[in-house]
């Protein structure tokens, strides 16, 4: 068994399971991604409530676990145990199928997300096209959910939500095209649509696409960043699911587990579009300053970052333990938080050992399994770190900005974003032709 694993990890050139045609490893990657996304969604739920609370100068959930850390689990259990209410005149089959469509669309996208140069489930040659197309299938789930509820608030919310998503898809697509134009400016002269290929094009050209042809890359990234918020129905574009306007829009009639499927689909879609933004403009799995700080010493310092992050989290948890009031009521919470800090510290030590082993074997054999494993962890870490920054930005936007009225929203989508993205596309094409 270890032989089997090592023979796959040590194969002549590291490729994705899709390219190798190996179903077993593809399934393993799919399970890992599914588990990772579920953990990320739960963490995102917790972070959203705590961060929103702290932005509003209150504390958020503090009781369920230490500092509310077990709140997502409590929420999940509550939603699973709730009564499953289906409206009387609703279309049963369609009511049941609607959250599944959204969930399928949101999760299928993860097969092409490039966590590393060979760490994707399957690097399709049309990767970015596949991602944009499948995430446009999520709109169908929303429309069908609104119609199947057989009541006017969900229907209006669903139609508004889908109109908004469809209009911002156009601007998103054009911004993506201008990033793909930049991939064709490398030595061979042909661009690529595969996600791994796009990040490797950034690697070959030595610049993240957000800084290329300044300010064109930045404007394209800005358009995509705004369009992706509208695409996932998040604030300030969440008119369709705002509680004060439409009593929760298309998922009004859904209760319990079905509603949690919608939330899961929404968070998964947020992570998916953030990964598109990271892979296309922010250099994917590359560490910051790959060319400016090029020495092996800097490589080693940057490879310590995963361990340092977990050490930082463990330190914050220990500070939380120390600051907890010395009351007998908090004894269990202190123990829980201390155990959590210990787990984080253990993971940090593990990562430190792997990083050091990977680098100290650098002098003798650079292709040892420890070095490869350390590189793989670094790639995945930097990708996840950048996506986590985007997730925090999503929460920050929700806390800070008021929401747009629906006609203002559509006006921005069609009259502002579309012309700007067209101009950026044409300008990128002209500059690209002039440069090469």
């Amino acid at each position: 068994m270890p032989n089997f694993i090592m023979s796959y990890l040590n194969s002549k050139d590291a490729i994705t399971p899709g390219a190798a045609g190996s179903q077993f490893w593809a399934l393993v990657y799919v399970f890992i991604i599914f588990a990772g996304v579920s953990v990320a969604v739960m963490a995102m739920n917790w972070l959203e409530r705590k961060a929103l609370a702290h932005f509003q100068i209150r504390l958020g959930p503090m009781r369920v676990g230490p500092h509310g850390l077990l709140q997502p689990i409590a929420d999940a259990i509550k939603l699973m145990l709730k009564e499953d209410i289906i409206p009387a005149e609703a279309d049963q089959f369609v009511f049941w199928v609607a959250p599944l469509i959204g969930l399928l669309a949101a999760f299928t996208v993860y097969t092409v997300i490039p966590f590393g140069p060979s760490q994707a489930v399957s690097d399709m040659n049309i990767g970015i096209l596949f991602m944009l197309g499948v995430s446009s299938l999520g709109v169908l789930g929303i429309v069908v959910a609104g119609w199947a509820s057989n009541s006017h608030y969900p229907l209006i919310g669903a139609l508004r939500s889908s109109a908004q998503m469809v209009s911002y898809e156009v601007a998103m697509g054009l911004a993506v095209v201008s990033a793909i134009l930049m991939t064709s400016l490398n030595a061979t002269g042909t661009g690529t649509l595969s996600m791994i290929g796009i990040v490797q094009a950034q690697q070959q050209q030595g610049v993240w696409f957000i800084f290329k042809f300044f300010p064109l890359g930045l404007i394209a990234f800005g358009i995509f960043a705004i369009a992706m918020i509208a695409e996932t129905n998040r604030a300030p574009f969440d008119m369709a699911e705002a509680e004060s306007e439409l009593t929760a829009g298309y998922h009004t009639e859904y209760s319990g587990l079905r509603w949690s499927l919608f939330m899961l689909a929404e968070y998964a879609a947020m992570i998916a579009v953030s990964s598109i933004a990271v892979a296309l403009w922010l250099g994917g799995w590359m560490r910051p300053f790959p060319n400016l700080l090029n020495a092996p010493a800097w490589d080693f310092i940057f490879s310590l970052f995963p361990a340092l992050t977990f050490f930082g989290l463990a330190a914050i948890a220990i500070v939380g333990v120390v600051r907890m009031p010395a009351h007998s009521f908090f004894k269990i919470q202190r123990i829980g938080l201390a155990a959590f800090a210990a787990v984080l510290g253990f993971i940090a030590l593990l990562l430190l050992v792997i990083a050091v082993a990977g680098r100290s074997a650098d002098a003798s054999v650079a292709a040892s399994p420890a070095a490869k494993f350390s590189e793989g962890i670094d790639y995945v870490y930097w990708f996840v770190f950048k996506v986590a920054v985007f997730m925090y930005l999503f929460i920050w936007y929700r806390a800070t900005w008021p929401r747009y009225r629906f006609d203002q929203l559509m006006k921005i989508g069609w009259k502002v974003m579309l012309p700007i993205s067209l101009v950026v596309l044409i300008a990128t094409a002209i500059v690209g032709v002039l440069v090469s």
Binding site: A19, G21, Q23, L129, L132
Partner: protein, 191 residues
């Protein structure tokens, strides 16, 4: 498993794309497409028909991927499943009247229509039975990696030359513009 895996990886990479369990995938996707097609034409509720059509389109996308046509598959998901079906769902919601779901399902001319379709089916079956020998037994394997570049070469042409379909491409974009204008004008309340 171990020695075969390494050589399998190399040969798979060299061949461009490794076919995986091909006959099983084909039968599942083809069966799904035909069953969903049957559901499209026999459901009383229009939304059920639309959902069945979406399943058919996705199954046909899978068949395109098996035929080494990834770009056509992507266009199919984008345009058909993501665009046209959304349009259909909007219109169904707009014109959905309660009376229609309690009406009869098939129109007055249904015997004639069914007879015509059966005649067509007989024609197809006879064409297939007679011409089965004309088709080759094996399928050649196309490289998948340059599919998009080659299609782009045909549509746009390489630098300096016009592609074979450039003129048709421009006409198609004009057609889309006319269709947009037509749809907008026809659905306005006052022109």
């Amino acid at each position: 498993m171990n020695p075969a895996l390494n050589s399998g990886l190399n040969s798979a990479v060299n061949a461009g794309m490794a076919p995986v369990a091909t006959p099983w995938f084909f039968y599942v996707l083809a069966g799904l497409a035909v069953v969903s097609g049957l559901l499209v034409i026999t459901r009383r509720n229009a939304v059920h028909s639309a959902l069945a059509l979406i399943v058919t389109l996705l199954a046909v996308t899978g068949l395109y991927l098996m035929l080494y046509a990834p770009f056509v598959a992507a266009v199919q998901i984008f345009v058909y499943a993501g665009g046209i079906m959304l349009l259909f769902l909007f219109v169904i919601m707009l014109v959905n009247i309660e009376r229609s779901s309690k009406d009869r399902q098939f129109n007055r001319m249904w015997p004639v229509g069914l007879a015509a379709a059966c005649a067509l089916l007989v024609l197809f079956v006879s064409a297939f039975v007679k011409g089965k020998a004309l088709f080759p037994d094996r399928m050649i394997s196309l490289p998948e990696s340059s599919n998009t570049q080659q299609i782009a070469g045909m549509l746009y042409g390489e630098a300096g030359k016009m592609g074979e379909y450039t003129f048709a491409f421009e006409i198609a974009s004009l057609l889309l513009l006319v269709a947009i204008l037509g749809a907008v004008i026809m659905t306005k309340k006052k022109i």
